[in-house]
Symmetry: C2
Subunit: 570 residues, 2 copies
């Protein structure tokens, strides 16, 4: 294999392979130092720049001993694949996404233990899992947004070998695998990139640390670094696409933005070896350009997350008005998203203290990913408590229906499909005690009103342990499980009900949203009142006895639609 | 009139009018403090925020005593207008622009003394003058990019009264007036804006000081401040358009960028009172989006400056390779601009150390403003020396022809039209001695190789005085004067020669550029050799005896095309 290291300001780069003599790489005018090598899979190595201390490789694909240890060579030919028949995700086909965190998805916390759950997700109707970031971070406990080796796969999850097995198993049951990737910053510990090149810039800042250099001197190679990492995941690990974290935090006024180059090149390269990729942006910007084609001054993503939908839904269910929720008024805003995709399409936002968003209605609804919760909207709460503990059972079912009967692309957060009530709090395990102390302190300061109960300590192993999914076998779980299964089956079996290609008529009055779509009417009752049913026969309802949980105060109202319910009439 | 001040963080704003009792403005929830007043034109006033020291008004339209003095009310109804028949500049009509600096354009250095020159420019064929920034700056000597009151007109130039007379006189001879405006920073002395609101941000920086807040909290009103200033210039001072300084230095990742909102609103508002505006961006970004319509994710400018053309032309004439010139190789790059508009359309640039530019060929050539020199490319040289002193007479004429026989919109820099050889060095007159010392020192450090002759002292009044235009009546001036007059007449009389709507065929070989356009061929000989003439009859040439200056080593070559010449054949 050709081994190369971008280190334009370094005269001499030595490759230090365990048990071998140091080898001086050939310094090319391009700033890359190269050698042709033939390493074994898993063989450990480091790099020495101009005689300095040995460092891990920025393009490390495996840090078997963690962020501070050596890198290890990866030979993709050692992996066995059985997914010849897997045709990849089709961005124009309906998708049901499922966000999961490998470390807490199962008690084992690895790719291998996660594999066991895949058939269950396939039965549920999930088309793709979206795995929270797996690039190597410090220790074994992290959401993943503190990764420092974007090419690598977390050792405690099973490393690249584990990911390869997981992807193969997912493809075997018809599930695609999307990776959540972070291109807006690197984690606070173990980041070797600044030693190698102009990866960072002080022209901009992010809330999480120095900004990456996508537009200054040397940025062509910084872009290559990230784009090529994605291509390597597609080519060698059969990854089906990416969810790019917080792209609104990437400041890049370039004529050809990094993100546009990324979507163009990752898509084209995947196509060149017969694969397709689904590219999803997480963005809070409500920016029309995210989905616009790159040939028309856009960034070319297939889909983007739609936080406005979540916020409107949450407020419709709980009436919360803290922080960003103050911008939303509930059901009427939720109805607006069904027409305009976003609530904020250019009007003034109290939260942002400026006009926010743009009109995006010309982009199909299925290009927007919606959810009743996700890792952020749980974990950014002081105790990391799920929606399940904030609202009653009827509301909880209505939330599921609002997402799964929408024309958008739905995404579940792991455990949601059976009403997991365990939290998903923030947790870290950096090696630096000072760093963990600082994070603990910052976390506490973020919630000044949280004086009645302590904020879970992000550095305590028990905090991550509290997030591990654990079914209880309750009737509530069974009822919710049936609801999710039926809703996803409805989506698949009756595409006209949610297809974003079919025009819908949306009306909201006093908390009741009526959506007419073809011959069907869906009524979302976001009130505590029983309301009159519109004309037509009830063909499905969240208040059906099938979804009643024993011990819950739930009833089917004969005349009218139940409080906090979703009903389909025809 | 309704008087208003945006000061959202201030409880009490007092209006202190000379000779009147302080008056407390009404604080509105919007953050504006307002009053209905009926002031006299020129009456001086200040503002007191929460009992602090009196300050000038951010929206001051007149600082009769300079940046540090009080503001003065402006009553536009005192101005007399005779331009009822002026129909405004038509962005689709051919333009010949003329950049001038009021302080050095005439010995008097005012709008009124500049008026005297307008008939001469009209005779020459100039369609619009582009006035270097006139917003109030400290003292009387400045290029204008240190302005601190964007709504105002420099007192030493004659203030708004003088500008009104100048614009009326320009319109009377058929010349439009464009203002160079600076929205990327404010000058280093006399800036009161931070006392009033969140005008600035520390999220970004500019080479010249803190960046303006076009995307953060409060930015709606910061945008209003600049957009409304432009509208006021159009409405009250009959300004025909704007040249926006260095828009590439405005970092604004907004969904709806300030620049897009600006072009939309300034154009629409001008139209609403029956006027049109020409909006030109200065940008080094080679960004396709600058001219793209705002409805298609662009910034919506009518035209943009084309520095690549200048650099390629300069290198073709002088072979210079210092600083940004190292990216250009002369005639072949110049030929590329005739096809692609820019030299850098995405390829790697040594100067930027990254890929640079985008393809813009779908935008008509006349939307790009070209020049053989301008204030920057003169003034950013250590001694501020013009092209005239770097090249011989034949090259000098070739430069004029390259600009004026191009399909682009040509712009002259004041004095160029007769071959002014006096410099245009950098000069300032801030009140702070320390500030002037720092600028002097920085200026010297910018030119480490300039040890054989001192860099002109920017703070010395003689430096500005050296830049004042002064014709000598030489035969060289007469010859160049005839050349410019004839070239502009050719452009106007034979539109097919330069029309950007007509396809052209461009070929470059060993420094000779041949442009075929309809029945005509233009040959630009960027070599010191006499070259064979292509088929056709010579109908015009820079080496014509009409443009020979006595005492110059100039000759008309019978057989072939002269060294450093431009020739039209048919």
């Amino acid at each position: 294999m050709e081994f190369s290291v971008w280190a334009p300001g370094t005269s001499a780069v030595d490759l230090l392979v365990d048990g071998a003599e140091p080898r001086r790489l050939v310094h090319q005018a391009s700033g890359y130092h190269i050698a042709s090598i033939d390493p074994d899979h898993g063989q450990r190595y480091r790099l020495r720049l101009d005689g300095g201390a040995p460092l891990a490789d920025p393009r490390s694909r495996w840090q078997p001993d963690g962020t501070l240890g050596p890198s290890a060579f990866v030979d993709p030919t050692v992996w066995t694949w059985t997914d010849e028949d897997w045709s990849g995700l089709d961005s124009s086909a309906p998708q049901v996404l499922y966000e999961l965190h490998i470390g807490t998805f199962t008690a084992g916390g690895t790719f291998d233990t996660a594999i066991v759950e895949l058939p269950r997700l396939a039965t549920l109707g999930i088309t793709a899992v979206e795995i929270m970031p797996v690039s190597q971070f410090s220790g074994g406990r992290n959401w993943g947004y503190d990764g420092v080796f974007p090419w690598s796969v977390q050792n405690t999850y099973g490393g690249p070998d584990g990911l390869a097995r997981f992807v193969d198993a997912a493809h075997a049951v018809g599930i695609g695998v999307l990776l959540d990737v972070v291109y807006n910053h690197l984690g606070p510990e173990g980041n070797v990139l600044p030693d190698f090149g102009t990866y960072f810039t002080d022209r901009y800042a992010t809330p999480w640390g120095p900004a990456l250099n996508f537009d200054g001197p040397g940025s062509d190679d910084v872009r290559r670094y990230f784009i090529d990492s994605a291509i390597a995941f597609v080519q060698d690990l059969h990854i089906d696409g990416f969810r790019l974290d917080a792209v609104h935090a990437i400041v890049d006024p370039s004529v050809r933005p990094f993100l546009a180059q990324y979507t163009d090149e990752v898509s084209a390269t995947a196509r060149s070896f017969g694969r397709s990729v689904l590219l999803i942006a997480e963005t809070a910007a409500n920016d029309e350009r995210t989905l616009r084609p790159t040939s028309e001054a856009g960034c070319g993503f297939d889909m983007q997350w739609n936080d406005d939908f979540h916020h409107a839904l949450r407020v419709a269910l709980t009436g919360e008005q803290q922080e960003y929720y103050k911008d939303f008024d509930g059901a009427s805003d939720l109805a607006k998203t069904l027409v305009d995709r976003f609530v904020y399409t250019g009007q003034y936002s109290e939260n942002h203290q400026r006009s926010h968003g743009a009109r995006v209605g010309h982009h199909n609804a299925d290009r927007f990913v919606v959810f009743s919760t996700n890792h952020d909207h749980i974990g950014n709460r002081a105790e990391g408590d799920r929606l399940d503990v904030s609202v009653g059972f009827a509301q909880r079912k209505l939330a599921a229906a609002a997402v799964l009967l929408s024309p958008f692309t739905p995404m579940l957060f792991m455990g949601e499909e059976y009403g997991e009530i365990r939290p998903f709090p923030f947790f870290v395990s950096h090696h630096s005690v000072e760093l963990v102390d600082a994070i603990r302190q910052r976390r506490t300061l973020e919630f000044p009103d949280q004086d009645w109960s302590p904020v879970p300590d992000p550095g305590d192993p028990a905090t991550m342990a509290s997030a591990v999914l654990r079914t209880t076998g309750s009737s509530r779980e069974a009822a919710l499980g049936a609801l999710y299964r039926d809703l996803i089956a409805l989506r698949r079996g009756q595409p006209a009900l949610t297809s974003s290609a079919i025009d819908e008529e949306v009306r909201e009055t006093d908390g009741v949203i009526e959506v007419r779509k073809g011959a069907s009417t869906i009524v979302f009752n976001f009130t505590g009142r029983t309301i009159p049913a519109p004309p037509g026969q009830v063909v499905w309802s969240t208040s059906d006895v099938d979804y009643g949980a024993a011990g819950e105060d739930e009833e089917i109202v004969e005349r009218g639609l139940s409080p906090w319910s979703a009903t389909i009439l025809r």
